[in-house]
Amino acid sequence: MTAVVLDGIVLGLQFAILGAGLTLVYGLGGVVNLAHGQMAVFSAIVIARLIDHGVSTFLAVMIGIAAVGVLGLLIDLSLMKPVYRQKGESRVLLGLLLMLGVGFIIDGVLEWKYPIEALTIRISGDPIPILGVNMRRGSLIASGIIVVVGASLVLFFRFTTFGRATRSVIQDERGARLCGVNPATVRTVIFGLSGVLAGVVAVTRAMSTPVVSTAGVDLTIFALIVAVVGGLGSVSGSFFAGILLGIVNTFSAFYIGTYITTIVLLLAAALTIVLRPSGLLGEKP
Amino acid sequence: MTVLELAGVEKHFGGLPAVNGVSLTVDEGEILALVGPNGAGKSTLLKAISGLQPATRGSAKFFGEELVGMKAHVVRQLGISMVLQTPRVFESMTVRENVIVGATFGVTGDRPSAAQAFARAEDALGFVGLAGYADAEVDSLNLHQQRFLELARSLAGQPKLLLLDEVMAGLNDTELQASIDIVRTARDELGVTVIWVEHVMKAVMSLAERVVVLNFGQILADGSPADVMAHPEVVTAYLGTEMKT
């Protein structure tokens, strides 16, 4: 029982960081990044290739995360420009379709060039008992990293000028512009940051399960579910939803069975939208 | 005969009352002007009647039938038609097509045939003076014409009660006179009852038979134009500043 909950939290933290990356980009510019999972896999494969070539794991991880961050910046600076020129529903639709295309491209390249590549980061050492449950070191380190990253995100948005600027753009783009914040710059930086978060997903996930080159679509779907349940645009909501869904996931997998589990998660997302469109923590409609 | 009977109508936005207990009886064939300062709740009251923004509390009866809780299209099909302060037209359609939608769906009873709806749309366009624009795209109309397109779309459904929200703002004298005539003819020839929000005092004085003053969501005065204008509270609350217009 405790073991199931702890496993759920470990998984949930990964869900959380996955959802956070997607939710930030949506909150700022209305773009549903349907290539988010593929971006994570991209970074995983970069890291795996570097390690294959003898680069030290730490350096490879740093380069891989930086690479996907740059990828995010580039996507925003090129493809997203015409999207941001649109308004309302047509912006959402164009952004979604373009990112769908980008997802194909990344997926296709990876499957074409590196069909059997996978990233595994082995953390050696004995399991550590927590609340009487033996937890694998890899899982614990991964969770530790996510907690640190998540806490830094919260601090960043609370206490730095740029973080506050970001929040002001999420709340009211026009108002932010009047206060001297340039929404375009904020969006670009945040798209890059979202890429970095995708990289963090790849690395932390690889500490417990291999991240294979075809995992992109599934990761995108999980990101979407988490972001929706947490409330699109809300990072803290993503963390809450991620952990909740992680626990639901392990519980349902443990007590019910696998295919029902996914359906339970999906229904959770659908129900959230239908009952509380602004997310579990958001205001009632 | 009583067309509309409001009893304690309230509309709150996040706890703040925009309309705060309005009770009012409107008789058939009346032209009632609803006046009051900006933010008094006039538009909100009309939207509450028409079902666009359902009332939070109270009752609104149309020929005895309760409107609160009805969706906007049902209210329209009962015979209450509204023209919004900011016109909302169908952008991808021509002027005539806009009116055909109203003639097809916004009617009481059975849906008319295509030919019937077409004919009614033509009539309504002629009535508001837009016959010459029937085939034009709506974005070639100015704001004033778009309001009258909405009026035509309303009339095409042969309503019994018209709710007009500041349709005469920003008109020159000739246009204003033409608009006043249209509304009066609608009442005289088509037998429509009119509730009409207006800022243009000249139009109110010449067209309205009854004036209701709304302030902070409540009725401040109700009577003939002359009586209401003489009402001391009205003068201080509202007319003192705006009468010159």
Partner: protein, 343 residues
Amino acid sequence: MTASTASAKEGAPNTAARGSATAFRDFAPIAVVAVLLALVPLNFHDSRSMMTVIIAGMLFLSYTIAFNVIFGSTGQLFLCTGALAGIGGFGSVILSDRVGIPMTLSIVLAGAVAAVFGGLLSWIAVSRSLDTIFTGIVTLAFSLSFQNFVLGRRDLTGGENGLRVEAGKDGLLDTQVKPYYVFLALAVAYLILFRLLQRSHIGWAFRALRDDEVAAELSGVDVTRYRVYAGIIGSAMLGVAGAIFAHHRGFIGTSTYSFGSVDVRVLVMLAFGGIGTLIGPVLGAAVFTILDEILVSYAQLREVLYGVVTVGLFLGFRQGVIPALSSLWDRVVSSGGRGRKST
């Protein structure tokens, strides 16, 4: 209105005459498309693989028209095209092979089941007033749930091994050329249905609510009802198309109706051709079927190129090709009178 009876009498013959003129203009494109597509097998009838490709193209044309009824006409982003077709496909196969209902009836029944699901999804979306993106996510969740259900309920669906289909083995749907014409007939029927909808009062309601929901409600259009109509009609079309395909193919599996293999392509085909237009789906299905065929030789690169083409197309033709062409056409003939906005 006092004058209305008089001018109604004048108006009626007038509109009737115009009616037959517009009827010709409205249905002629469908006839042209039908004739052109009927000629396609003349070139390919002895190539089994080409016939497979063009039958798939035809199937996707039907899917895309159906999706166009839902998304193009009423703006509901249904990301469960494949799942609804799959409900039709698996449903019809289970009904005919397991329950023993005659194939034709089971296709109709399965279509009805898909219609019920689609109508429900639509009703949920409309009554909770979900916007495009939320409708998309809810239907995507439905779509993925269906996929997981197919994977999990092996006893019914064969799971990852798929399901052999017995009904339809011999007859109209067997082999290649005859089924092509069955699918062509289906697609043409769908085009005609789409046009009939456009011309009816339902089409007026669709246009009105697409343009402005509030204005539509104010004009007396029951927005909820017509959205749900679109959901029901489009889903029934999807279910029937998916079911006929199952009986033709003789085998259905998890990827036959998956999000990746159906929805994505349908969305791209429609957006490319022109959302809400009659001919857009024809053009989209044709172009992407040909593109797929060209890319077959570069199997590994296929997904990449597909992505590149998708991105390129949406950057270039944001409204779709048919609207772009028709506005060009309007400019060319603008001396001769106003162009029509709808195609």
